[in-house]
Amino acid sequence: AGRKITVGALRFTSHAGSFIAFERGYFAEAGLEVELKFFQAAQPMAVAIASGDVDYAITAISGGLVSLADKGAIKVIGGALSEEPGIDGQKILASDAAFQAGLTAPAALDGKSFGMSTAGSSFHYMGSKVAAAEGVSLSFKPLQKVGAIIGALKSGQIDAWSIVPHIAKPLAASGAVHIIGDIADYLPDYQVTTVFTSATNAADERDMTGDYLSAYARGVADYNATMIAQESGQAGVDAMVDLIHKYVYTDRPRETAAASIINGTMRLNGGAALNVASVRDQLKWFQSEGLVDEGITLETLLDTSYVETLGS
Protein backbone atom coordinates (compact mmCIF):
# COMPACT_ATOMS: atom_id res chain seq x y z
CA ALA A 1 0.00 0.00 0.00
CA GLY A 2 1.08 3.50 -0.67
CA ARG A 3 0.88 6.77 1.23
CA LYS A 4 -2.44 7.58 2.73
CA ILE A 5 -3.97 10.83 1.54
CA THR A 6 -7.43 12.36 1.77
CA VAL A 7 -9.03 13.98 -1.24
CA GLY A 8 -11.99 16.25 -0.76
CA ALA A 9 -14.83 16.23 -3.27
CA LEU A 10 -18.30 17.51 -3.93
CA ARG A 11 -20.84 15.31 -5.59
CA PHE A 12 -20.65 17.24 -8.85
CA THR A 13 -19.78 16.01 -12.32
CA SER A 14 -16.95 18.54 -12.35
CA HIS A 15 -15.16 16.35 -9.81
CA ALA A 16 -15.23 13.39 -12.22
CA GLY A 17 -11.44 13.51 -12.62
CA SER A 18 -11.01 12.43 -9.02
CA PHE A 19 -13.69 9.74 -9.24
CA ILE A 20 -12.15 8.23 -12.36
CA ALA A 21 -8.63 8.26 -11.01
CA PHE A 22 -9.91 6.60 -7.88
CA GLU A 23 -12.10 3.97 -9.56
CA ARG A 24 -9.59 3.07 -12.24
CA GLY A 25 -6.76 2.72 -9.77
CA TYR A 26 -4.65 5.59 -11.08
CA PHE A 27 -4.05 6.86 -7.57
CA ALA A 28 -3.04 3.42 -6.39
CA GLU A 29 -0.65 3.08 -9.34
CA ALA A 30 0.90 6.38 -8.30
CA GLY A 31 1.52 4.88 -4.87
CA LEU A 32 -1.25 6.78 -3.11
CA GLU A 33 -3.92 5.26 -0.93
CA VAL A 34 -6.72 7.74 -1.38
CA GLU A 35 -9.69 8.27 0.82
CA LEU A 36 -12.41 10.38 -0.79
CA LYS A 37 -14.11 12.77 1.59
CA PHE A 38 -17.40 14.32 0.51
CA PHE A 39 -18.63 17.77 1.40
CA GLN A 40 -21.93 19.57 1.02
CA ALA A 41 -20.29 22.90 0.24
CA ALA A 42 -16.99 24.22 -1.03
CA GLN A 43 -16.22 26.54 1.83
CA PRO A 44 -15.79 23.94 4.58
CA MET A 45 -13.67 21.93 2.17
CA ALA A 46 -11.25 24.84 1.82
CA VAL A 47 -11.14 25.19 5.58
CA ALA A 48 -10.53 21.45 5.89
CA ILE A 49 -7.46 21.78 3.65
CA ALA A 50 -6.24 24.58 5.87
CA SER A 51 -6.75 22.50 9.00
CA GLY A 52 -4.93 19.56 7.42
CA ASP A 53 -7.93 17.23 7.49
CA VAL A 54 -7.92 17.03 3.73
CA ASP A 55 -4.83 16.97 1.50
CA TYR A 56 -6.15 17.87 -1.92
CA ALA A 57 -9.40 19.23 -3.23
CA ILE A 58 -11.00 21.01 -6.12
CA THR A 59 -13.16 24.08 -5.87
CA ALA A 60 -13.89 27.46 -7.35
CA ILE A 61 -11.67 30.39 -6.47
CA SER A 62 -13.52 32.45 -3.91
CA GLY A 63 -12.72 35.24 -1.52
CA GLY A 64 -12.50 32.68 1.27
CA LEU A 65 -9.91 30.67 -0.63
CA VAL A 66 -7.81 33.77 -1.21
CA SER A 67 -8.07 34.73 2.47
CA LEU A 68 -6.88 31.31 3.53
CA ALA A 69 -3.98 31.54 1.09
CA ASP A 70 -3.16 34.93 2.55
CA LYS A 71 -3.02 33.34 5.99
CA GLY A 72 -0.39 31.00 4.59
CA ALA A 73 -2.63 27.98 4.84
CA ILE A 74 -3.28 26.89 1.24
CA LYS A 75 -1.95 27.04 -2.32
CA VAL A 76 -3.59 26.61 -5.69
CA ILE A 77 -1.52 24.11 -7.64
CA GLY A 78 -3.49 23.33 -10.76
CA GLY A 79 -6.58 23.95 -12.83
CA ALA A 80 -9.68 21.81 -13.04
CA LEU A 81 -12.75 23.14 -14.81
CA SER A 82 -12.59 25.90 -17.35
CA GLU A 83 -14.84 27.60 -19.82
CA GLU A 84 -13.98 26.95 -23.41
CA PRO A 85 -15.73 28.53 -26.32
CA GLY A 86 -17.60 25.94 -28.29
CA ILE A 87 -18.13 23.59 -25.41
CA ASP A 88 -21.23 23.80 -23.32
CA GLY A 89 -20.39 25.91 -20.29
CA GLN A 90 -22.09 27.90 -17.58
CA LYS A 91 -25.35 29.52 -18.54
CA ILE A 92 -26.86 32.86 -17.73
CA LEU A 93 -30.45 32.38 -16.58
CA ALA A 94 -33.39 34.71 -16.35
CA SER A 95 -36.57 34.14 -14.39
CA ASP A 96 -39.73 33.63 -16.37
CA ALA A 97 -41.21 36.88 -15.12
CA ALA A 98 -38.16 38.88 -16.07
CA PHE A 99 -37.93 37.08 -19.40
CA GLN A 100 -41.50 37.94 -20.24
CA ALA A 101 -40.71 41.51 -19.31
CA GLY A 102 -37.95 41.65 -21.83
CA LEU A 103 -34.89 40.18 -20.20
CA THR A 104 -34.02 38.01 -23.15
CA ALA A 105 -30.34 38.84 -23.44
CA PRO A 106 -27.61 39.82 -20.98
CA ALA A 107 -27.61 43.32 -22.43
CA ALA A 108 -31.00 43.88 -20.81
CA LEU A 109 -29.72 43.17 -17.33
CA ASP A 110 -29.49 46.80 -16.28
CA GLY A 111 -31.06 47.36 -12.86
CA LYS A 112 -31.88 43.69 -12.42
CA SER A 113 -31.15 41.54 -9.39
CA PHE A 114 -28.64 38.74 -9.68
CA GLY A 115 -28.46 35.74 -7.36
CA MET A 116 -25.32 34.60 -5.62
CA SER A 117 -24.45 32.43 -2.63
CA THR A 118 -22.24 34.92 -0.83
CA ALA A 119 -20.21 37.97 -1.60
CA GLY A 120 -16.92 36.85 -3.11
CA SER A 121 -18.35 33.67 -4.60
CA SER A 122 -17.87 32.67 -8.23
CA PHE A 123 -21.46 33.75 -8.95
CA HIS A 124 -20.59 37.20 -7.73
CA TYR A 125 -17.54 37.29 -9.99
CA MET A 126 -19.39 36.08 -13.07
CA GLY A 127 -22.25 38.49 -12.57
CA SER A 128 -19.90 41.43 -12.11
CA LYS A 129 -17.94 40.54 -15.20
CA VAL A 130 -21.02 40.18 -17.35
CA ALA A 131 -22.33 43.48 -16.03
CA ALA A 132 -19.03 45.22 -16.72
CA ALA A 133 -18.88 43.86 -20.24
CA GLU A 134 -22.46 44.93 -20.98
CA GLY A 135 -22.05 48.21 -19.20
CA VAL A 136 -25.02 47.59 -16.97
CA SER A 137 -25.42 47.68 -13.21
CA LEU A 138 -26.73 44.72 -11.21
CA SER A 139 -27.84 44.34 -7.64
CA PHE A 140 -26.54 41.16 -6.05
CA LYS A 141 -28.63 39.10 -3.64
CA PRO A 142 -26.69 36.84 -1.26
CA LEU A 143 -28.84 33.75 -0.66
CA GLN A 144 -26.21 31.35 0.75
CA LYS A 145 -27.61 28.15 -0.66
CA VAL A 146 -28.05 27.05 -4.23
CA GLY A 147 -31.49 25.75 -3.29
CA ALA A 148 -32.55 29.15 -2.07
CA ILE A 149 -31.30 30.78 -5.26
CA ILE A 150 -33.23 28.32 -7.39
CA GLY A 151 -36.35 28.93 -5.36
CA ALA A 152 -35.96 32.68 -5.67
CA LEU A 153 -35.36 32.46 -9.41
CA LYS A 154 -38.28 30.14 -10.04
CA SER A 155 -40.63 32.39 -8.14
CA GLY A 156 -39.31 35.47 -9.90
CA GLN A 157 -37.90 37.14 -6.80
CA ILE A 158 -34.52 37.52 -8.44
CA ASP A 159 -34.14 38.21 -12.11
CA ALA A 160 -30.98 36.42 -13.15
CA TRP A 161 -28.29 33.96 -12.18
CA SER A 162 -25.50 31.95 -13.74
CA ILE A 163 -24.90 28.27 -13.13
CA VAL A 164 -23.31 25.13 -14.54
CA PRO A 165 -25.19 23.54 -17.44
CA HIS A 166 -26.41 20.41 -15.70
CA ILE A 167 -28.44 22.54 -13.32
CA ALA A 168 -29.29 25.21 -15.90
CA LYS A 169 -30.70 22.89 -18.56
CA PRO A 170 -33.28 21.00 -16.50
CA LEU A 171 -34.39 24.29 -14.98
CA ALA A 172 -34.87 25.79 -18.41
CA ALA A 173 -36.64 22.66 -19.57
CA SER A 174 -39.23 23.06 -16.84
CA GLY A 175 -40.15 26.43 -18.32
CA ALA A 176 -39.77 28.33 -15.08
CA VAL A 177 -36.52 29.96 -16.19
CA HIS A 178 -34.85 30.79 -19.47
CA ILE A 179 -31.28 30.60 -20.69
CA ILE A 180 -30.29 33.99 -22.04
CA GLY A 181 -26.57 33.64 -22.59
CA ASP A 182 -23.30 31.84 -22.02
CA ILE A 183 -20.61 32.84 -19.57
CA ALA A 184 -18.01 31.70 -22.06
CA ASP A 185 -18.93 34.66 -24.26
CA TYR A 186 -17.88 37.05 -21.55
CA LEU A 187 -15.15 35.13 -19.81
CA PRO A 188 -13.42 32.97 -22.40
CA ASP A 189 -10.96 30.61 -20.75
CA TYR A 190 -12.49 31.37 -17.33
CA GLN A 191 -10.70 29.14 -14.83
CA VAL A 192 -13.79 28.06 -12.90
CA THR A 193 -12.32 25.57 -10.46
CA THR A 194 -8.78 24.83 -9.39
CA VAL A 195 -6.87 22.09 -7.63
CA PHE A 196 -5.51 23.22 -4.31
CA THR A 197 -3.68 21.86 -1.28
CA SER A 198 -2.20 23.04 1.97
CA ALA A 199 0.87 25.27 1.81
CA THR A 200 2.91 22.61 3.59
CA ASN A 201 1.97 19.93 1.08
CA ALA A 202 2.89 22.23 -1.79
CA ALA A 203 6.24 23.20 -0.31
CA ASP A 204 7.38 20.11 1.59
CA GLU A 205 5.64 17.16 -0.04
CA ARG A 206 6.66 17.76 -3.62
CA ASP A 207 6.78 14.07 -4.56
CA MET A 208 3.40 13.28 -3.15
CA THR A 209 1.84 16.36 -4.71
CA GLY A 210 3.38 15.54 -8.07
CA ASP A 211 2.12 11.97 -7.85
CA TYR A 212 -1.33 13.15 -6.96
CA LEU A 213 -1.48 15.60 -9.83
CA SER A 214 -0.32 13.09 -12.41
CA ALA A 215 -2.85 10.49 -11.29
CA TYR A 216 -5.59 13.11 -11.28
CA ALA A 217 -4.54 14.24 -14.74
CA ARG A 218 -4.96 10.65 -16.02
CA GLY A 219 -8.52 10.69 -14.74
CA VAL A 220 -9.14 14.03 -16.45
CA ALA A 221 -7.68 12.75 -19.68
CA ASP A 222 -10.05 9.76 -19.61
CA TYR A 223 -12.96 12.05 -18.96
CA ASN A 224 -12.18 14.51 -21.72
CA ALA A 225 -11.50 11.71 -24.20
CA THR A 226 -14.70 9.85 -23.42
CA MET A 227 -17.19 12.62 -22.74
CA ILE A 228 -16.00 15.45 -24.94
CA ALA A 229 -14.09 13.83 -27.77
CA GLN A 230 -16.38 10.76 -27.59
CA GLU A 231 -13.36 8.63 -28.63
CA SER A 232 -14.88 5.36 -27.47
CA GLY A 233 -18.37 6.12 -28.68
CA GLN A 234 -21.65 5.61 -26.88
CA ALA A 235 -20.39 2.54 -25.06
CA GLY A 236 -17.58 4.54 -23.55
CA VAL A 237 -19.99 7.28 -22.49
CA ASP A 238 -22.28 4.72 -20.88
CA ALA A 239 -19.45 3.16 -18.95
CA MET A 240 -18.28 6.58 -17.83
CA VAL A 241 -21.79 7.58 -16.75
CA ASP A 242 -22.05 4.37 -14.75
CA LEU A 243 -18.81 5.20 -13.03
CA ILE A 244 -19.80 8.77 -12.25
CA HIS A 245 -23.26 7.70 -11.13
CA LYS A 246 -21.63 5.89 -8.26
CA TYR A 247 -20.84 9.32 -6.84
CA VAL A 248 -23.28 11.76 -8.31
CA TYR A 249 -27.09 11.61 -8.14
CA THR A 250 -26.71 8.30 -6.35
CA ASP A 251 -30.27 8.22 -5.15
CA ARG A 252 -31.75 8.74 -8.56
CA PRO A 253 -32.29 5.95 -11.00
CA ARG A 254 -29.65 5.48 -13.71
CA GLU A 255 -31.81 6.90 -16.52
CA THR A 256 -32.57 10.28 -14.96
CA ALA A 257 -29.08 10.56 -13.53
CA ALA A 258 -27.50 9.86 -16.93
CA ALA A 259 -29.23 12.85 -18.49
CA SER A 260 -27.98 15.14 -15.77
CA ILE A 261 -24.46 13.77 -15.95
CA ILE A 262 -24.28 14.17 -19.71
CA ASN A 263 -25.80 17.64 -19.46
CA GLY A 264 -23.08 18.58 -17.03
CA THR A 265 -20.21 17.74 -19.37
CA MET A 266 -17.64 20.52 -19.41
CA ARG A 267 -13.99 20.73 -20.32
CA LEU A 268 -11.58 19.77 -17.53
CA ASN A 269 -8.08 21.23 -17.89
CA GLY A 270 -5.83 18.61 -19.48
CA GLY A 271 -2.80 17.88 -17.35
CA ALA A 272 -4.41 20.06 -14.69
CA ALA A 273 -3.03 23.03 -16.56
CA LEU A 274 -3.76 26.34 -14.87
CA ASN A 275 -4.94 29.49 -16.60
CA VAL A 276 -2.95 32.07 -14.69
CA ALA A 277 -4.40 34.98 -16.60
CA SER A 278 -7.90 34.10 -15.49
CA VAL A 279 -6.77 33.61 -11.91
CA ARG A 280 -5.01 36.97 -11.97
CA ASP A 281 -8.16 38.61 -13.23
CA GLN A 282 -10.21 37.00 -10.50
CA LEU A 283 -7.75 38.08 -7.81
CA LYS A 284 -7.79 41.63 -9.11
CA TRP A 285 -11.52 41.64 -9.07
CA PHE A 286 -11.66 40.42 -5.45
CA GLN A 287 -9.27 43.17 -4.51
CA SER A 288 -11.13 45.85 -6.41
CA GLU A 289 -14.32 44.84 -4.61
CA GLY A 290 -12.54 45.15 -1.27
CA LEU A 291 -13.26 41.51 -0.47
CA VAL A 292 -9.64 40.55 0.14
CA ASP A 293 -6.54 42.40 1.17
CA GLU A 294 -4.96 44.71 -1.43
CA GLY A 295 -1.49 43.41 -0.74
CA ILE A 296 -2.05 39.81 -1.78
CA THR A 297 0.06 38.81 -4.78
CA LEU A 298 -0.49 36.06 -7.27
CA GLU A 299 2.49 34.21 -5.75
CA THR A 300 0.75 34.04 -2.39
CA LEU A 301 -2.14 32.23 -4.04
CA LEU A 302 -0.45 30.09 -6.65
CA ASP A 303 2.29 27.53 -6.77
CA THR A 304 2.90 27.23 -10.50
CA SER A 305 5.79 24.79 -10.20
CA TYR A 306 3.69 21.67 -10.74
CA VAL A 307 1.67 22.11 -13.89
CA GLU A 308 1.74 23.82 -17.20
CA THR A 309 0.44 27.36 -17.05
CA LEU A 310 -1.64 29.10 -19.64
CA GLY A 311 -1.94 32.75 -20.42
CA SER A 312 0.76 34.00 -18.10
Binding site: F38, Q40, A48, S51, D53, V54, G147, K154, S155
Partner: protein, 264 residues
Protein backbone atom coordinates in the same frame (compact mmCIF):
# COMPACT_ATOMS: atom_id res chain seq x y z
CA UNK B 1 -91.48 33.48 49.09
CA UNK B 2 -91.54 29.91 47.88
CA UNK B 3 -91.02 27.30 50.49
CA UNK B 4 -89.90 24.75 47.98
CA UNK B 5 -86.72 26.65 47.26
CA UNK B 6 -84.69 26.57 44.11
CA UNK B 7 -81.68 24.53 43.20
CA UNK B 8 -78.34 26.14 43.80
CA UNK B 9 -76.95 27.03 40.37
CA UNK B 10 -73.77 25.37 39.24
CA UNK B 11 -70.98 27.81 38.38
CA UNK B 12 -67.77 25.81 38.75
CA UNK B 13 -66.18 23.48 36.28
CA UNK B 14 -64.55 25.91 33.89
CA UNK B 15 -60.78 25.81 33.32
CA UNK B 16 -60.39 22.08 33.66
CA UNK B 17 -59.23 19.87 30.85
CA UNK B 18 -60.63 16.71 29.43
CA UNK B 19 -58.32 14.51 27.47
CA UNK B 20 -59.30 14.28 23.82
CA UNK B 21 -56.46 12.50 22.07
CA UNK B 22 -58.33 11.89 18.86
CA UNK B 23 -58.61 15.61 18.12
CA UNK B 24 -54.87 15.70 17.56
CA UNK B 25 -55.10 12.96 14.96
CA UNK B 26 -58.03 14.63 13.29
CA UNK B 27 -56.09 17.89 13.00
CA UNK B 28 -53.09 16.14 11.48
CA UNK B 29 -55.24 14.21 9.06
CA UNK B 30 -57.17 17.33 8.08
CA UNK B 31 -54.00 19.29 7.39
CA UNK B 32 -52.57 16.48 5.28
CA UNK B 33 -55.80 16.06 3.33
CA UNK B 34 -55.97 19.79 2.73
CA UNK B 35 -52.42 19.83 1.41
CA UNK B 36 -53.10 16.80 -0.77
CA UNK B 37 -56.25 18.32 -2.16
CA UNK B 38 -54.61 21.70 -2.69
CA UNK B 39 -51.64 20.33 -4.55
CA UNK B 40 -53.75 17.98 -6.63
CA UNK B 41 -56.16 20.65 -7.75
CA UNK B 42 -53.39 23.17 -8.21
CA UNK B 43 -54.70 25.62 -5.63
CA UNK B 44 -51.32 25.20 -3.97
CA UNK B 45 -48.51 25.51 -6.46
CA UNK B 46 -46.01 22.64 -6.49
CA UNK B 47 -43.32 25.21 -5.72
CA UNK B 48 -44.95 25.98 -2.41
CA UNK B 49 -45.61 22.58 -0.97
CA UNK B 50 -44.97 19.04 -2.08
CA UNK B 51 -47.87 16.65 -2.36
CA UNK B 52 -48.13 14.61 0.87
CA UNK B 53 -48.61 11.39 -1.07
CA UNK B 54 -45.41 12.12 -3.01
CA UNK B 55 -43.56 12.69 0.23
CA UNK B 56 -44.88 9.38 1.48
CA UNK B 57 -43.75 7.71 -1.72
CA UNK B 58 -40.30 9.30 -1.45
CA UNK B 59 -40.14 8.01 2.06
CA UNK B 60 -41.11 4.57 0.84
CA UNK B 61 -38.33 4.61 -1.75
CA UNK B 62 -35.90 5.80 0.86
CA UNK B 63 -36.88 2.89 3.03
CA UNK B 64 -36.93 0.20 0.37
CA UNK B 65 -33.58 1.31 -1.07
CA UNK B 66 -32.01 0.86 2.34
CA UNK B 67 -30.81 4.46 2.21
CA UNK B 68 -33.05 5.36 5.14
CA UNK B 69 -30.87 3.53 7.59
CA UNK B 70 -27.71 4.58 5.84
CA UNK B 71 -28.77 8.15 6.62
CA UNK B 72 -30.45 7.53 9.93
CA UNK B 73 -27.77 5.55 11.71
CA UNK B 74 -24.91 8.05 11.41
CA UNK B 75 -27.28 10.83 12.43
CA UNK B 76 -28.48 8.92 15.47
CA UNK B 77 -24.89 8.20 16.44
CA UNK B 78 -23.99 11.87 16.14
CA UNK B 79 -27.01 12.85 18.18
CA UNK B 80 -26.23 10.26 20.79
CA UNK B 81 -22.56 11.07 21.20
CA UNK B 82 -22.97 14.83 20.83
CA UNK B 83 -25.94 15.12 23.14
CA UNK B 84 -24.42 12.75 25.68
CA UNK B 85 -21.24 14.82 25.74
CA UNK B 86 -23.02 18.14 25.89
CA UNK B 87 -25.61 17.06 28.40
CA UNK B 88 -23.19 15.35 30.76
CA UNK B 89 -20.76 18.27 30.66
CA UNK B 90 -23.70 20.62 31.06
CA UNK B 91 -25.06 18.76 34.05
CA UNK B 92 -21.60 18.67 35.58
CA UNK B 93 -20.95 22.36 35.10
CA UNK B 94 -24.51 23.15 36.18
CA UNK B 95 -23.89 21.29 39.43
CA UNK B 96 -20.63 23.11 40.01
CA UNK B 97 -22.39 26.42 39.46
CA UNK B 98 -25.21 25.36 41.73
CA UNK B 99 -22.90 24.24 44.52
CA UNK B 100 -20.00 26.70 44.53
CA UNK B 101 -20.36 30.46 44.76
CA UNK B 102 -17.05 31.02 43.05
CA UNK B 103 -17.83 28.87 40.05
CA UNK B 104 -21.21 30.54 39.83
CA UNK B 105 -19.76 34.02 39.83
CA UNK B 106 -17.18 33.05 37.22
CA UNK B 107 -19.24 30.97 34.84
CA UNK B 108 -22.78 32.31 34.84
CA UNK B 109 -21.89 35.48 32.90
CA UNK B 110 -19.84 33.37 30.50
CA UNK B 111 -22.76 31.03 29.86
CA UNK B 112 -25.07 34.01 29.42
CA UNK B 113 -22.68 35.44 26.85
CA UNK B 114 -22.31 32.14 24.98
CA UNK B 115 -26.03 31.36 24.89
CA UNK B 116 -27.06 33.79 22.12
CA UNK B 117 -24.16 32.90 19.82
CA UNK B 118 -25.53 31.17 16.74
CA UNK B 119 -23.69 27.91 16.21
CA UNK B 120 -23.88 28.16 12.41
CA UNK B 121 -21.85 31.35 12.55
CA UNK B 122 -18.99 29.35 14.00
CA UNK B 123 -19.11 26.52 11.47
CA UNK B 124 -15.84 27.48 9.71
CA UNK B 125 -14.07 27.54 13.05
CA UNK B 126 -15.41 24.18 14.09
CA UNK B 127 -13.63 22.64 11.13
CA UNK B 128 -10.33 24.10 12.28
CA UNK B 129 -10.92 23.26 15.91
CA UNK B 130 -12.32 19.77 15.60
CA UNK B 131 -11.55 18.57 12.08
CA UNK B 132 -14.03 17.47 9.46
CA UNK B 133 -14.69 14.00 10.72
CA UNK B 134 -17.18 13.09 13.35
CA UNK B 135 -15.31 15.27 15.85
CA UNK B 136 -16.70 18.56 14.64
CA UNK B 137 -20.22 17.16 14.40
CA UNK B 138 -20.10 15.83 17.94
CA UNK B 139 -18.61 19.12 19.09
CA UNK B 140 -21.28 21.25 17.42
CA UNK B 141 -24.15 19.22 18.85
CA UNK B 142 -22.45 19.04 22.23
CA UNK B 143 -21.89 22.79 22.23
CA UNK B 144 -25.54 23.41 21.38
CA UNK B 145 -26.88 21.13 24.11
CA UNK B 146 -24.33 22.31 26.67
CA UNK B 147 -25.60 25.83 27.39
CA UNK B 148 -29.31 25.07 27.88
CA UNK B 149 -28.42 22.07 30.02
CA UNK B 150 -26.17 24.18 32.23
CA UNK B 151 -28.89 26.76 32.73
CA UNK B 152 -31.56 24.15 33.47
CA UNK B 153 -29.30 22.23 35.84
CA UNK B 154 -28.21 25.08 38.01
CA UNK B 155 -31.74 26.39 38.20
CA UNK B 156 -32.81 22.89 39.28
CA UNK B 157 -30.10 22.75 41.93
CA UNK B 158 -31.15 26.17 43.17
CA UNK B 159 -34.72 24.92 43.42
CA UNK B 160 -33.94 21.94 45.60
CA UNK B 161 -35.91 22.37 48.79
CA UNK B 162 -33.55 24.11 51.23
CA UNK B 163 -35.26 22.51 54.22
CA UNK B 164 -34.17 19.10 52.95
CA UNK B 165 -30.58 20.30 52.77
CA UNK B 166 -30.84 21.84 56.20
CA UNK B 167 -32.25 18.55 57.44
CA UNK B 168 -29.21 16.73 56.04
CA UNK B 169 -26.87 19.17 57.70
CA UNK B 170 -28.72 18.92 61.01
CA UNK B 171 -28.18 15.17 61.00
CA UNK B 172 -24.49 15.67 60.34
CA UNK B 173 -24.51 14.04 56.88
CA UNK B 174 -21.27 14.83 55.10
CA UNK B 175 -21.17 17.23 52.18
CA UNK B 176 -20.87 14.59 49.54
CA UNK B 177 -23.76 12.57 50.96
CA UNK B 178 -25.97 15.62 50.85
CA UNK B 179 -25.07 16.28 47.23
CA UNK B 180 -25.56 12.68 46.19
CA UNK B 181 -28.63 11.77 48.20
CA UNK B 182 -30.48 15.06 48.46
CA UNK B 183 -29.38 17.57 45.84
CA UNK B 184 -29.03 15.17 42.94
CA UNK B 185 -32.43 13.46 43.20
CA UNK B 186 -34.06 16.74 44.15
CA UNK B 187 -32.71 18.42 41.03
CA UNK B 188 -33.64 15.51 38.78
CA UNK B 189 -37.10 16.75 37.71
CA UNK B 190 -35.65 20.09 36.63
CA UNK B 191 -32.74 18.45 34.85
CA UNK B 192 -35.01 16.13 32.90
CA UNK B 193 -37.27 19.01 31.93
CA UNK B 194 -34.16 20.83 30.72
CA UNK B 195 -33.04 17.80 28.75
CA UNK B 196 -36.31 17.87 26.85
CA UNK B 197 -35.33 21.24 25.45
CA UNK B 198 -31.65 20.44 25.04
CA UNK B 199 -32.39 17.34 23.01
CA UNK B 200 -34.81 19.21 20.76
CA UNK B 201 -31.99 21.68 20.15
CA UNK B 202 -29.61 18.80 19.45
CA UNK B 203 -31.94 17.56 16.72
CA UNK B 204 -32.20 21.06 15.29
CA UNK B 205 -28.43 21.33 15.21
CA UNK B 206 -28.07 18.03 13.40
CA UNK B 207 -28.61 19.84 10.11
CA UNK B 208 -25.98 22.44 10.92
CA UNK B 209 -23.57 19.75 12.03
CA UNK B 210 -24.00 17.82 8.83
CA UNK B 211 -23.15 20.91 6.82
CA UNK B 212 -19.61 20.02 7.79
CA UNK B 213 -18.59 17.38 5.32
CA UNK B 214 -21.13 14.68 6.06
CA UNK B 215 -21.89 12.20 3.34
CA UNK B 216 -24.67 10.40 5.06
CA UNK B 217 -27.09 11.62 7.63
CA UNK B 218 -30.60 13.03 7.74
CA UNK B 219 -29.19 16.53 7.87
CA UNK B 220 -27.00 15.94 4.83
CA UNK B 221 -29.99 14.42 3.04
CA UNK B 222 -32.09 17.50 3.80
CA UNK B 223 -29.31 19.84 2.74
CA UNK B 224 -28.83 18.05 -0.54
CA UNK B 225 -32.55 18.03 -1.20
CA UNK B 226 -32.63 21.73 -0.39
CA UNK B 227 -29.80 22.56 -2.73
CA UNK B 228 -31.57 20.74 -5.53
CA UNK B 229 -34.89 22.30 -4.50
CA UNK B 230 -36.34 18.83 -4.25
CA UNK B 231 -39.30 19.48 -1.95
CA UNK B 232 -40.45 15.87 -1.63
CA UNK B 233 -37.11 14.77 -0.25
CA UNK B 234 -36.77 17.91 1.84
CA UNK B 235 -40.09 17.23 3.52
CA UNK B 236 -39.37 13.53 3.92
CA UNK B 237 -36.22 14.51 5.82
CA UNK B 238 -37.99 17.14 7.89
CA UNK B 239 -40.70 14.64 8.83
CA UNK B 240 -38.03 12.20 9.99
CA UNK B 241 -36.50 14.87 12.24
CA UNK B 242 -39.89 15.82 13.56
CA UNK B 243 -40.78 12.22 14.38
CA UNK B 244 -37.36 11.85 15.98
CA UNK B 245 -38.09 14.87 18.17
CA UNK B 246 -41.46 13.54 19.25
CA UNK B 247 -39.91 10.16 20.02
CA UNK B 248 -37.11 11.67 22.09
CA UNK B 249 -39.65 13.70 24.01
CA UNK B 250 -41.71 10.56 24.61
CA UNK B 251 -38.65 8.68 25.84
CA UNK B 252 -37.93 11.42 28.33
CA UNK B 253 -41.55 11.21 29.40
CA UNK B 254 -41.11 7.50 30.09
CA UNK B 255 -37.87 8.13 31.99
CA UNK B 256 -39.61 10.81 34.02
CA UNK B 257 -42.43 8.48 34.94
CA UNK B 258 -39.93 5.80 35.91
CA UNK B 259 -37.42 7.90 37.75
CA UNK B 260 -39.80 10.38 39.27
CA UNK B 261 -42.59 8.08 40.34
CA UNK B 262 -42.19 9.54 43.81
CA UNK B 263 -43.84 12.72 42.65
CA UNK B 264 -47.54 13.15 43.21
Amino acid sequence: MDNQGSKVVFRGGGFTHQSRRWVGFVVFAALLLLAEWGTRTGVISPLTLPRPSDVLQTFGELYSSGLLFQHLIPSLLRLLVGAALGASLGIGVGFLIGLFSFVRAGLVPLVAAIFPIPKIALLPLFVIWFGIDEGSKYALIAFGTFTPTVVATFAAVDNVDRTLIRMGQSFGLDWFSIVRKIVLPGAMPGILAGLRISLAIAIILLVAAEMLGAEYGIGAYILEAGSLYDLERLFAGVVILSVLGVLVSAVIGVIERRLLDWRT
